[in-house]
Structure formats: C-alpha cells, structure tokens
Symmetry: C2
Subunit: 230 residues, 2 copies
DNA sequence: TTGGGTTACTGGGTGACCCAATTAACTACT
DNA sequence: AGTAGTTAATTGGGTCACCCAGTAACCCAA
C-alpha cells in the first residue's frame, strides 16, 4: 500500500501558474504592462497580499519588474541579468520538440559512451534493475511507463559519474515528458523500447563505448521517427 | 559616462539574503525549524506580510517548506524529489567546477562541429565580430572580458541553428561565470585566449567540422588546466 | 494502549489603511 | 505655441488587526 503526501495548493502558486502560462504562450510579451494589483486581485478573487506573494516569486525569478507608482511589467530578457538561469529554462521550455530531440541525440550518445567506460558493477546493477522494471508489470499506465523510462536513462547518466550529465539529462527528460508519453500509443512500442534498452544495457555492461553510443543513437532515432510521424 | 539604474531594495529581498546566508553557513540545516512568523517578523521589525513574501520565494525555490499549523522547516534536498526544473537548476548550481568543465568539453565540441557544418555567411560574420570585440579595446575590466568571451561562444552555438544548444551553452557559461572571470589573472591569458578563439573561428569559417571540434577542445582543455592550477 | 477532547500556537488568507513615486491632465507663464 | 509648474488620480510598498483551519502536546477515559 502506498500513500502520497497531500500537498495543499497555495493561492500564490495558482497565480504563478497562470501567469507563467501566459508568458510561455506569448500572450504576455516582454515590455507588456500587467493589470494593477488591486484590479487583478479582484479579478482573481483573491486578496492583494496573496497576489503580491505571487508577484514576489516572479520578480525574484527575473520574469517581471515592479515600478512603484508605475506598474508591473514583463521583463526584457537580457544577457547581463545575474538571475538569468530562470530565463534560460524558460527559453528551453519554448524550444521545439525536434530541436530538443536533436540536442538529446548529441548529448546522450556522448553520455552513454562515457557511462560505458566508467560504469562500476553497482552502476550496471542499477541500470539492469531499471531495465527490468519496465518489463515486470504487464499493465502500466502511460505515465508510469514514462517514469520507468526516465529511470533507465537517468541510471545510465548516473554511471557517467558526473552529476552535470545527470541533471542535463533530467532537464531533457522533463522537457520531453509529454512527447515521450505520447509514444506509448504506438502498438508494440513497449516491446521495441525494451529491446532497444536491452541493447544499450548490454553494450554498457560490456564496457563497449562505441557500441553503447550506437545503440542509444538507434534508440533516439527511433523515438524521433515516431514523433515526426505522429 | 555610464549610469546604473537605481534599484531600491525591497524588504523581502533583505530577508531572503539573511536566510540564504544562514543556510549557506550551515547555521540552518535541513530539518531545522524556523521561528514562527509572528516572532520573526517582530525580531526583524517588519510586518508579517513582508516576511511572508520572503518565505514564498524561498518556498518556491524549494529551500523551505511550510506546514500550516506546524511551522516552517528547512527542506531536505532529495534527489528523487519532484522532477522540478527548480531542483535541477539548484543541483546544477551545486555541481563542482570540474564536472561542469567536463560536461562543457563534451557538449561544446559537438556544438562547434555542428556549427562548422551549418554556419551561414551571416553566422560567420557574427562570430568574427565577437572575436574582434575582445581584441579591440586594450583595457577591459575582467567582467567585460568575460562578457565578450560569452558572446563569442554564444555566437558559435547560434551557428548550430538549434536554440537548445544556445540555451545549454548559456546555462554552462552562466554557471561557470565566476570561474571564467578568475582566469584573467593569468599573465598573457588574454592573448592566448584570442589565439585559441581565432583558431576555432578559422575552422568554422572553413566549414571544417573536425578541425573546429579539435580547436575548441584545445581551448577548453587550456581553460581546465588553468582552473586546476589556480 | 488507544482514541477522543481540549487548548495554545502556527501558517493561510483577508480587507482597510497609509505612504511615496509615477503619470497624465491641466494651468500659468513666457 | 511651447514650456515649466501644479495638481489629482493611480500604482506599488508596506503595515495592522483580524479570522480561519490545521498542528501538536497534553490530559483523560475506555
């Protein structure tokens, strides 16, 4: 029996979500002026204070700027901004799927090659566990399938023994999450996926760097093919 | 004559700074309970609302957790936590310099190779401009030097015509900013840097993918050497 | 030992209020 | 006609007093 922790949603969080969506969909562009606090608070049926809390978070992320007496504005994304890691992530979220997939092909092949060189017996065990998990239960919901897929790919980057690789991988898997979930619609996809994963695993287990790179490239190309066709 | 924009410090910002310092200096460890709102607000001589704004930001960054009725706590940082992009950034910021440099060697070599293949005459022009900018003014402050270095590397990733590469590059350059600034202390570093950049530029201009990869690898290795020695 | 109350405390949230800066419309002067 | 000065409405910054619901610690009875 498994229970999840109940996490109540705060008001400010919903506000952030709404505004972030508007920014992502370009309905709010840099330079745009937001409605005044009092007006927006009333529109959202929340208090000015709660709205302010949301604005503070967005402000600290460098997404908006408050001018006392003037109003609030969507910030221009500037290179020189010190707090700009947030902006970078936002830009990444706006990237096209195909660009993301191309980047992943480049990065993950290299990561797998390094993993094949450095993987310890423990690493290999962890990868194998992740590999088998996908094939254990016959009926899994799509999001659970994606989760176990994530686990496999993270296990590989973990074997590179460089946390930057792990985090870059996390970022990519996260950004491609929706896309990856869609691929399960294809009949027989799961079995094919397992075979591809298995090939990657074998290459890493053999410490065959070249083979590992090729196997994962094949895997990623097959994913791209699906995405293009969908 | 240059003027900086005057940015008034908000109350919540000072609070964040104070608490962040406490966390960095380990005076607040994961699991620790913070003083109650009302008490802390009084101690800081600010209103409860302003204090709350600070807490919201820290909360959204995943540093603290609020339990209504229970109190506020410094959060345990877990690997397996929600695949939140916030956490990924935080983890990346905590990565070691050498790990970041290794990742950059892997990624940027590939990016440069692709750039060499795809660069249009316009791209090449932009890269050349960035290259020359560094050599124009004799006396530049360290942060300005780093800036023009950033521009050069971003111009290259721009020539890859994949925005994901540009953003990954931005992320790395940002995370390595401090480190890169330190390298200017080395005598003759700037001239050497220029020569290395020049070699990279030439290879890209010739559309010589392999040469471009090698040139940039050499450049990055020379940076790593400096970092190791410092 | 376990479950039900009790109570003080804590975070979540609200609404009215004051201040200072901005903005724009208006006025007076040149 | 153009400019400087004034004024009033609006806006964000911040405070205060207040209410609600969940928590935690304790006591008590089954």
């Amino acid at each position: 029996m498994e229970f999840k922790e109940i996490a109540p949603v705060r008001l400010y969080e919903s506000v952030i979500e709404q505004i972030m969506d508007l920014i992502k969909n370009n309905e709010l562009k840099p330079g745009d002026k937001l409605p005044p606090e009092r007006e927006l608070a009333e529109k959202l049926s929340i208090s000015r204070n709660s709205l302010r809390e949301a604005f503070r978070v967005l402000e600290s992320r460098g997404l908006i700027k408050s001018k006392p007496g003037g109003g609030r504005f969507i910030r221009e994304i500037r290179e020189n901004d010190h707090n700009n890691t947030e902006n970078i992530i936002l830009s990444l979220e706006k990237s096209s799927i195909l660009e993301l997939l191309e980047a992943r092909e480049i990065f993950e092949v290299k990561i797998a090659e390094i993993a094949a060189q450095r993987a310890t017996p423990e690493d290999i065990e962890i990868i194998e566990e992740a590999l088998n998990k996908m094939n254990q239960k016959e009926e899994l919901k799509d999001d659970k399938k994606t989760e176990s897929d994530t686990e496999f790919h993270l296990a590989i980057s973990g074997a590179s023994h460089n946390f930057v690789f792990v985090n870059i991988m996390k970022l990519h898997l996260d950004l491609l999450k929706e896309t990856r979930e869609k691929t399960w619609q294809i009949p027989g996809r799961r079995e094919k996926q397992y075979q591809e994963h298995r090939a990657i695993f074998r290459a890493i287990k053999e410490h065959n760097s070249k083979k590992a790179g090729e196997a994962i490239l094949k895997h990623l190309r097959s994913i791209r093919k699906i995405v293009v066709e969908i």
